[in-house]
Amino acid sequence: MRALFVVVLLAAALSAQTADFGKAYSFAERRPKTRVEVAIDRVLPSIVKVHGASGLATINAYATGIVVSTRGHILTLDQIMIQKGRTRVVLYDGSVHDALLLPGDAELGVRLLKIDPSEVQGELQPLWPPEPERAAFRTGQFVVSVGNSFRLAEFSEKVSATFGVVVGRANTALRYRMADVDYDGDLILTDACNNPGQFGGGLFTLDGTWIGLNLRLLDSKETNTMLSAAIPTRDLLPYLDEYVLGKRRQQPVVEKTPAWTGVVLFEQAGRQSPPAYVERVRPDSPAAKLGLRPDDLIVRLDDYSVRSCVEFRDVLARFSAGQTIKVTWKRGTRVLDGDLLLAEEPR
């Protein structure tokens, strides 16, 4: 009696599996229960697997992408595996499509792919980016990260969803020594891990709002630790507007002239750059007008920490003559700050 019961159970389980496996099941068949399930179900049809070229053993030739229009636009992280004529997209239903490459955005480090919508069965289900204020995120928010971790999903198998929280916001200035990020703006940090393959996937709130595009696992030079991060969706909107909606962007042309403060730092020869102590201040220079003096220790330019003479030059190179920046310095036991108008170096 018991044995028969087990057999029936087993058969039921098997039939359920075979019914599911290999078939592009329709979305309506599932009955999600929890909010996390609802969120995952809502976004999954818009997540695609991206396969590309790689001649290098260290580079994975797979990633994730997000459908952003019914006309076949797919957003993914731009990377070396995305190559002309060698990039394919696998949709939610398992269908494979050759992808054209649209111009990428070097500052964001993202690229749009385009597939032929007439070859798609049914309608593409784009996750059109939400309104900027809806795509806001906050520390401690619950999120789901969706992507093809380690290429675990093939054909119509669904990509992986991982649960986590928003760890915090990584301010541009406080993270600028992070490796492997083209993007220069604030990032969302999360503990939903960005395994290889997860990048190009999305970070979603539990109501299915798309708040970020997953990056690779980042190596923080600040702390020597690994971090999972995402580019906020709202920062992607200008790029998407231009290439999906055809709205031309006004790209401000910024001409950079090397900035000069008039500070001469106390630099020793040696293998390690010392802290940025002021040795001399050129008369009539911006630094002299601000009141910097010899033996002051410069600790910050705007929000950028300056822990050594090398970092002082690195950070200063990010600014241009004519810009006003906030300088923070230590004199004795006092910490002072003031605005400094960067100038061009006099000849």
């Binding site: 229960k33 929890t34 909010r35 906050r138 520390t139 401690g140 928010q141 619950f142 929280v165 760890v167 915090g168 916001r169 990584a170 301010n171 406080l174 993270r175 604030d186 940090l189 503990d191 539990l206 923080s220 030079k221 600040e222 702390t223 020597n224 630790t225 690994m226 971090l227 293998r271 390690q272 010392p274 802290p275 220790l297 600790v299 910050r300 929000d303 920490s305 822990r307 923070t328 230590k330 036991t333 006092r334 910490v335 700050d337």
Partner: protein, 411 residues
């Protein structure tokens, strides 16, 4: 057999019906989200950023002290062994055995901490008093920086003077010249429950917003009563930060404290094993640290005979500079009580003395070798643990990994 099966079925049915009476809301865990955000909002004001400048002190690496700040040195590449050809066919890429220069044993490279190397990123601190005492992780001061700055959210940047530290707990105190700072509330460790939520806050990536990692209290009384163990991620990005409960009260301070003490103790970062040093129970130590005292793990200086399974702990040797040697303890003596507590065996003895700091006194009762009577010695003052002892792997000192005596032949 049959009756037990029926009994099991009855119990199962009872369980199912009990479940049916109390329907489970699968979304119930979502209530944690607002709780978490309230806890962050409560704790954020007293979580501050620590920045350090300068300093050259050598820090502890895998192979003893290394300069933590040099240029990156090469790591030994893993030797790629050519796969043996399956059936004797010569492989085109395999080096021929005749001209293989790698045969000579290479001199071992004088390297280099494997894995983690500390950099000079920001760390986190917690406001202890409204007049500017700040708790920081000892990790932040590993380089012996010449300048320490504290960034208090909404209040600006302050110069900090270093005060004392407790190297056995991995914490230090600095003082800034400020008033009316928002102060942390600390939870006494005996009120902490294993399994309760623990949120690890840091403030290293944005000045106006803390970072958070969530987890639970995994265990209490770790490292001889000094720390809670948590499974929220801890790393250099939140060392020194507050580990708070659902009310935003501080359970402890996140520090790198892996027991071996190598690599500045961070080798378990992000592993699901983190430590939060409890604060509410060490007010007296904090007072000593405020006066500038450097507290270290106490050192008695006895090696135990592992084959002796008790009662008592049998001494295998006493290093000559140790407190035990000065108290004339010798090989073969058996320690039978510590401060009146009967010693059951070696690990028990470790537990009884390892919570002490240098300068603490212990009263030992011993059975001198060859003598039949118990002798209670005058109190022994523990020394600070010498560098050579700290540098070596301490895992063997831990009760949990106390090695069992090897089986002897013929027993």
């Amino acid at each position: 057999m049959r009756s037990s099966g029926v009994g099991g079925a009855v119990i199962l049915l009872a369980a199912i019906s009990a479940n049916a009476q109390r329907p489970v809301d699968p979304d119930e865990f979502l209530h944690l989200e607002p709780v978490l955000q309230r806890a962050i909002a409560t704790a954020a004001p007293f979580v501050v950023t620590i920045e350090t400048f300068g300093g050259t002190r050598r820090t502890l690496g895998a192979d003893g002290p290394v300069d933590g700040d040099g240029p990156p040195r090469p790591r030994p590449a893993p030797k790629a062994k050519p796969e043996p050809a399956p059936d004797g066919e010569p492989q085109p890429d395999a080096p021929k055995p005749d001209d293989a220069p790698d045969e000579k044993p290479k001199p071992k490279l004088p390297l280099v901490p494997e894995g983690f190397q500390q950099t000079r990123g920001r760390t986190t601190g917690v406001v202890l008093t409204s007049d500017g005492w700040i708790l920081v992780s000892r990790f932040a001061l590993n380089f012996d920086p010449t300048t320490v700055l504290v960034v208090v959210p909404g209040r600006g940047t302050f110069h900090a003077e270093r005060a004392g530290e407790d190297t056995s707990r991995g914490i230090a105190l600095v003082k800034i010249d400020a008033e009316g700072l928002p102060v942390a509330t600390f939870v006494p460790p005996d009120e902490v429950r294993v399994g309760q939520w623990a949120f690890a806050l840091g403030r290293t990536f944005a000045a106006d917003e803390p970072t958070v990692h969530i987890g639970i209290v995994s265990a209490k009384n770790r490292l001889f009563g000094r720390a809670l163990q948590i499974d929220a991620y801890t790393s250099p990005a939140n060392y020194g930060g507050a580990v708070v409960d659902v009310h935003g009260r501080v359970l402890g301070i996140a520090v790198p404290l892996s027991p071996s003490g190598r690599n500045a103790g961070v080798e378990w970062y992000d592993s699901g094993i983190g430590f939060a040093v409890t604060i509410a129970d060490i007010r007296d130590l904090l007072a000593r640290m405020q006066q500038g005292h450097v507290l270290q793990r106490g050192w008695l200086g006895v090696q135990l005979e592992l084959a002796h399974l008790g009662p008592g702990a049998k001494i295998a040797g006493t290093p000559k500079d140790g407190a035990a040697a000065r108290a004339h303890l010798r090989k073969g003596d058996v320690i039978v009580a510590v401060d009146g507590v009967e010693v059951q065996n070696g690990p028990h003895f470790q537990m009884l003395v390892s919570s002490r700091l240098g300068g603490d006194r212990v009263t030992l009762t011993v059975l001198k070798k060859g003598a039949g009577e118990r002798l209670t010695l005058p109190p022994i003052e523990l020394l600070d643990t010498p560098w050579s002892e700290q540098a070596q792997d301490k895992s063997a000192d831990l009760p949990a990994s106390f090695p069992l005596p090897e089986k002897q032949e013929g027993r």
